[in-house]
């Protein structure tokens, strides 16, 4: 019987939740020896890969071929050359496509493994990309130190990849990382533009819709929609209570529907008014619905980090998000109502869902 599997990366390890009906869940964890897990996915090979980054022991990719019962880990090759002047502070993003496991890192770099995570090689440090010369200056690295915070390998070619450089830019390559093009046209910023004004945009999360031309974005400054595959962006923030947020997700079957979790900006970065809330648009951002049924409040001050929301692919898809205070919520009716799946978890950094079996 197919199982829905939630991979919940936290500051204190990976947690795995499984359910046959997406209502009753069993949970295992903390796994990966409680290493901080920034991202976890189920690869094309069916294995779980978890990007772990310890302040004490460095970064490593953990792998399980049996849904978390046993694990191996490796960081062989997951480093910069000694004479490069670069340090691998953290790995924060994963993607698996075309038989390759891609890993995103700070200092800004993209690695890949072609042997199921046993060894890694450097694909690109985005040399020559606009703004590249300042990204790796420690004084310029954004807090969080995610480096490449997200990776989308395209279906058409293993050389066609989109990444987010935290705090700087969406970058695209179609030659396997030899050259990179920024894709930020239309975005705005509330701070001085860098020397090359094609970059310097704080893109938090991208959410591609089922239509290749339609992408959504939650930015530090605004919520956005693209109708040309993410080359240019139109703002759709009007109607939302704030313009700041991290996590978002697109409907798996309807290009017009998108979900986001906006937050108060500044130091707080919790959901507005002490009410846990998810916002939904069904018309690509022309109007918004605030959804709170089953979500705690008032006096519930929680945040959701950029990888903290995910949805499955089923017709009656499930939508899930995890908070930085350790709560995990699920909706089976497109956000109209929610249930709490777990509480008292360590701070949640990422949520991914897959259907297995």
């Amino acid at each position: 019987m197919p199982q829905t599997v939630l991979l919940v990366g936290t500051r204190k390890g990976l947690f795995i939740l499984e359910s046959a009906d997406r209502r009753d869940w069993t949970m295992r964890g903390p796994l990966c020896e409680s290493w901080p897990i920034y991202n976890a996915i189920i690869g094309e090979d069916g294995a779980i890969y978890a990007a772990a980054a310890s302040e004490w022991l460095g970064s490593s990719v953990w792998r399980s071929a049996d849904l978390g019962e046993t694990w191996t880990q490796s960081s062989e090759g997951l480093a910069y050359a000694d004479d490069s002047g670069l340090k691998l502070n953290k790995i924060s993003s994963l993607a698996h496509k075309h038989g390759k496991l891609f890993v995103g890192a700070e200092s800004v770099g993209l690695f890949e493994s072609t042997d199921d995570g046993k060894t890694f090689s450097l694909v690109s440090t985005l040399d020559g990309a606009p703004g590249r010369e300042v990204w790796n200056d420690p004084a310029m690295q954004p807090p969080g130190h995610l480096g490449i915070s997200a990776i989308w390998p395209y279906d058409d070619s293993p050389d066609h990849i989109r990444v987010i450089v935290q705090g700087n830019s969406i970058m695209d390559t179609d030659d396997g990382g030899k050259t990179w093009t920024p894709s930020n046209s239309g975005l705005r910023r509330e701070w001085p533009a860098p020397e090359d004004d094609r970059v310097g945009f704080c893109v938090h999360k991208l959410a591609p819709s089922p239509d290749a031309e339609r992408w959504y974005q939650q930015n530090h400054v605004g919520t956005w929609r693209s109708d040309d595959g993410g080359s240019s962006w139109n703002e759709i923030s009007e109607g939302l209570p704030t313009e700041f947020g991290f996590a978002c997700a697109a409907h798996p079957h309807d290009r017009e529907t998108f979900f986001t979790t906006v937050l108060d900006p500044g130091h707080g970065r919790t959901m507005p008014d002490g009410q846990v809330q998810v916002w939904r648009t069904r018309d690509a951002g022309s109007s918004w619905q605030k959804m709170t049924k089953g979500l705690p409040g008032p006096d519930a001050f929680v945040g959701v980090l950029r990888d903290g929301m995910s949805r499955d692919e089923q017709d009656d898809f499930g939508l899930y998000f995890g908070t930085s205070t350790g709560q995990l919520f699920a909706s089976l009716d497109e956000g109209d109502s929610w249930t709490e799946v777990a509480d008292y978890l360590p701070s949640i950094q990422s949520v991914r869902v897959a259907t297995v079996g």
């Binding site: 302040e55 004490w56 022991l57 460095g58 880990q73 960081s75 490069s84 340090k87 691998l88």
Partner: protein
């Protein structure tokens, strides 16, 4: 992570770096946990040769005691 790594290991190596390299030969991946690019010791990994704080280039005399301590703190 290295389940069969004992608390005390005998190695022959002229420097701290080469001692770590020998440990890595026996327990693959251990070097990455102790060292970052440079190479350099990771910030929270402290090494002492006969009680003296050391770095990767520090010589290790014969019969010396080499302590590798992860200065793990915080919550």
């Amino acid at each position: 992570m290295f389940a069969d790594l004992p608390r005390r290991v005998d190695v022959e190596a002229p420097t701290v770096l080469e001692a770590i390299a020998e440990l890595d030969r026996r327990w693959p991946g251990l070097r990455d946990r102790l060292c970052a690019e440079g190479p350099s010791l990771r910030q929270h990994i402290h090494v002492y040769v006969d009680g003296e704080r050391s770095d990767l280039a520090t010589p290790v005399p014969a019969n010396a005691r080499l302590d590798v301590i992860a200065a793990i703190s915080g919550g």
